[in-house]
């Protein structure tokens, strides 16, 4: 092969092929963008409080311990489905109270157990964050995770 393939042929294949795959990737990206906006997520319920909750999530770098839809630090539980795990689909108020109580009770200081810091979130911030979890739990993730353990 090394005799038949010349350097200029290799160069042309590189540039041509790369251009082809960039165009293909952009086309699929456009479709994926539209699919997210129109199909897999519910933009009509993407309220101010959900957006504020996303910022609470970011400001406290939750992703550097937890994972969200499987991406993050794997040090603490998956939270993409935490709303479902707390029974939010059937008992929204109970789940909300449970999540707030849990975050307020941190750190547990139990020896040998991973510790979550106390982030001192306000009532408003807690509500926004939980709205964000609730909205996230309704993203169509092709059936992932396999069970509520996350």
């Amino acid at each position: 092969m090394s005799e038949r393939l010349t350097k200029s042929a290799a160069r042309n294949i590189f540039y041509g092929g790369t251009a082809f795959f960039i165009v293909l990737f952009i086309a699929l990206s456009v479709h994926t963008h539209l699919y997210i906006v129109n199909t897999s997520t519910d933009e009509t319920t993407l309220t101010e409080s959900v957006t504020r909750g996303k910022h609470v999530w970011e400001r406290n770098a939750c992703i550097n311990c937890h994972s969200l839809l499987g991406e993050g630090a794997y040090f603490a539980p998956e939270l993409g489905n935490v709303w479902v795990r707390y029974g939010g689909r059937d008992h929204a108020e109970g789940a909300r109270m449970g999540l707030k109580a849990w975050m307020r009770a941190q750190p547990t200081r139990v020896p040998g157990r991973r510790q979550m810091p106390q982030f001192n979130l306000s009532e408003q911030e807690l509500d926004d964050l939980i709205d964000f979890f609730e909205w996230t739990s309704r993203i169509d993730t092709q059936g992932w995770p396999p069970n509520t353990a996350g």
């Binding site: 350097k7 160069r11 699919y35 550097n64 630090a73 993203i139 092709q142 995770p145």
Partner: protein, 448 residues
């Protein structure tokens, strides 16, 4: 060393190695928290340590590429760097931004998307430094001899800067956020960074094996072609479960298999060129790193990546310690070893000494590589167990983690061993040279 501005690489390499130490130290701390969960839990929580660990990695790797570019571009372009002042300014801004980020994290001030936690003003500084770099090296290359090595290197650097702009786009829709976040993260490490990697390796091969440039450059095109053909659509393996369409499961699975090819090609390329040259380059440590890099990249990025990138497997393994195992060996093999290879090659010239402390440097190679391999194995075992208990049996996350204790202790052990190896490397490359024979240009042997 033929051009005085190649010296610009020296401060870049020193800054890179110091941040490498910060990264490894933070890694050992994070590993300690895994083994002893109450350790530092209130003074320096895990999320802060991890931000420093990952950010220091990205910054020192970039500093290494910048330094390597300043070292190799004068030789390739046959002219000095356009503006040494701009290079110093760039270094100053970049290191200042990196240190500011660390201080800012320690103070609890950060944004919250993984790896992109830098506050906005720091992100802007990073872009400014990057633009200064691109201006400086592009001007040099445009005015000088054009080679495939510099063209591919610049393509990789421009691509990296371009994709980083997506770090400034953070939509409120989480699925969209994640989709474009991968534009930065995936297209960096599984796309344009592979261009940087292949061109730096090509330069090392040309210099150390003495094989005809035409042959090495032809294969450089083949390798970077394979990298981009597979890597762009390979982004699909991150688009399985984040609200993206189902067809990505097909595309991602197929192109993930293909993503192994550029790394395998790099292994063949490096070994074949060294075999073919039959030349015995005196910098044996640099040769060892240059051969080790593609091999470990093939295992870490290629094999460990493929291990969990079929959608049917990833459905169960996504977001477990399997990913952590893959991430560690892939970054080490592909990009850490690449930089360490380049430093090992260039530092003796920059310090005007013969290749020195080769034995210690080669020991550090084996210590770090063995430690990283062991760490990857322990995390893989932890991940397989976690996947079964959590995703198949459905046990709770925290309950499972306690059962993985043994693996986390072994990982910490590997981390400490890695730190020892890294310190050995530091001493071997930057330590005292008093007992070395200083080389004047007319006494210099085959090492160029």
């Amino acid at each position: 060393m033929k051009y005085s501005t190649q010296k610009l690489a020296y401060p870049y390499f020193i800054a890179a190695l110091l941040l490498f130490m910060v990264q490894v130290l933070a890694g050992v701390l994070a590993g300690s928290v895994y083994a002893m969960p109450n350790f530092l839990s209130e003074s320096l929580p895990f999320h802060i340590i991890r931000m420093i660990h990952t950010n220091a990695l990205l910054v020192w790797l970039l500093l290494g590429y910048f330094g390597a570019a300043y070292f190799l571009i004068p030789e390739e372009s046959e002219r000095d760097i356009h503006s040494p002042k701009v290079a110093w300014l760039q270094l100053f801004i970049f290191v200042f931004a990196a240190l500011a980020a660390v201080v800012s994290y320690l103070a609890g001030v950060h944004e919250g998307r993984e790896f992109l936690e830098q506050p906005l003003w720091i992100k802007i500084l990073l872009v400014v430094a990057f633009l200064l770099f691109l201006y400086n090296v592009s001007m040099t290359v445009l005015k000088g001899r054009k080679t495939v090595v510099t063209t591919i290197l610049l393509l990789g650097m421009w691509g990296a800067a371009l994709m980083f702009l997506f770090a400034f786009y953070n939509p409120g829709n989480l699925a969209l956020d994640k989709m474009y976040w991968w534009y930065v993260v995936h297209i960096w490490v599984e796309g344009v960074w592979e261009l940087i990697m292949a061109s730096m390796l090509a330069f090392l091969l040309i210099k150390m094996t003495g094989v005809d440039r035409e042959v090495i450059e032809k294969w450089l095109y083949v390798i970077v072609g394979l990298a981009l053909f597979s890597g762009l659509l390979g982004t699909g393996h991150h688009y399985y479960w984040i609200g993206t369409p189902g067809y990505w499961q097909w595309i991602g699975s197929i192109f993930s298999v293909l993503e192994v090819l550029p790394f395998f090609a790099m292994v063949l390329w490096c070994f074949h060129m060294v075999y073919r040259s039959g030349r015995n380059h005196p910098n044996k440590a640099a040769m060892l790193w240059s051969l080790g890099c593609p091999v470990m990249a093939f295992f870490g990025a290629g094999v460990w990546g493929l291990l969990h990138s079929f959608s049917q497997v990833n459905f169960y393994s996504h977001g477990t310690q399997i990913t952590a195992a893959h991430g560690h060996m892939a970054f080490y093999g592909a990009y850490v070893m690449l930089n360490l290879a380049f430093f090992t090659y260039a530092l003796p010239q920059l310090r005007n000494a013969q290749p020195y402390n080769q034995i210690l440097n080669m020991w550090s190679f084996w210590v770090m590589t063995a430690a990283m391999a062991f760490m990857t194995f322990t995390l893989t075992f932890a991940g397989v167990l976690q996947t079964h208990l959590q995703r198949v049996v459905g046990m709770g996350f925290m309950e499972i983690q306690q059962q993985l204790d043994l693996f986390y202790w072994m990982r910490l052990l590997a981390g400490v061993a890695f730190l020892v190896g890294a310190l050995m490397y530091l001493y071997a490359t930057l330590g005292p040279t008093t007992k070395q024979v200083s080389s004047s240009p007319n006494m210099q042997p085959a090492a160029r």
